[in-house]
Amino acid sequence: MMVRSLALALILSAGGAAHAADKPAVEAKNGWVRVLPGNLPAGGYLTFENRSDRALSIVGADSPQYGNAMIHRSSTDGGMGRMEMVDSVPLPAKGTLAFAPGGYHVMLMQPKQAVKPGEKITVTFTLSDGEKVPATLLARPANASGPTD
């Protein structure tokens, strides 16, 4: 807790001064979460846009509404559906990265309270340069295909 608030203060003082007037280098948009019944883990999806000319990566995720958040990648290579945890997902310079069903996603585990469709989930992603990217993900029903119908 202490470490986190210190880190936050550092980011605010360092980043705040330099970029206060600018748009952040990395922005998250079109975020949504597929809410599953009970305490089942939920997949979160969104698009990252890197406006800077530096290649970055997404190295972590955290949500105050879930006990644990991890970055995963699903694949169905060779007809086998499997999921693996990933440490880092490349975000190209002047490019975008999509977390989408069947590929990269943030796996949100142990919801602190039951999440209902329509609610907003806050997830903070950590970049390889230490910067944080705040994201708001819309809770959607289990059988939704995207952030909107």
Partner: protein, 205 residues
Amino acid sequence: MTPSIFRRALMVLLAAAAVASLAACQREAQPEWRLNDVSGHLPDLDFKLTDDNAKPVTGADYKGKVAVMYFGYTHCPDVCPLTLTQLHVILDRLGPAADNVRILFVSVDPARDTPAVMHAYVNAFDKRAVGLVGSQAAVEALAKRYRSAFTREPDRGDGNYEVSHSSAIYFFDANGKARLLATPSASQDDIVHDLHLLTSLETRS
């Protein structure tokens, strides 16, 4: 209408009629499947499992319905929901014929998937979906019967684990005969097309 336009219109009509009669003819003989035809290559729908209402069921209980079988587990937050969502969208597109289809979602995670957990899970996707659970041995036997496979991955250290599993979707006709096989990346148009054909086949009494 000038003669040339009239002639062209007539030709279009004739061509359309020819295609229609050809389609009708083929439909009676051999359906023009778009998915992989596995007729005669995989065994009939047969199992002894427990459904999501905790009722013992066998393959015969789904006679009269086209069965769409898929192996998965509820702690699978990405690929299984994606496939079940796609099947839900497909059944909605199918219209009234979807009443004659059941999605059979077979759990490959007997340790965590109880009928109650499965009930909440499958109903969150589609009311025509049935969750099936069984002992490790029963599910393994079923997977083997359809040349499917699943493996429990090592514990992540917090009691959580993933289960890697075959992602194939199996289609059985209303007589319980294995007819088609699809991957989750198959086009929705193709699945809708083949389900229309499959639900229009006559059920043998």
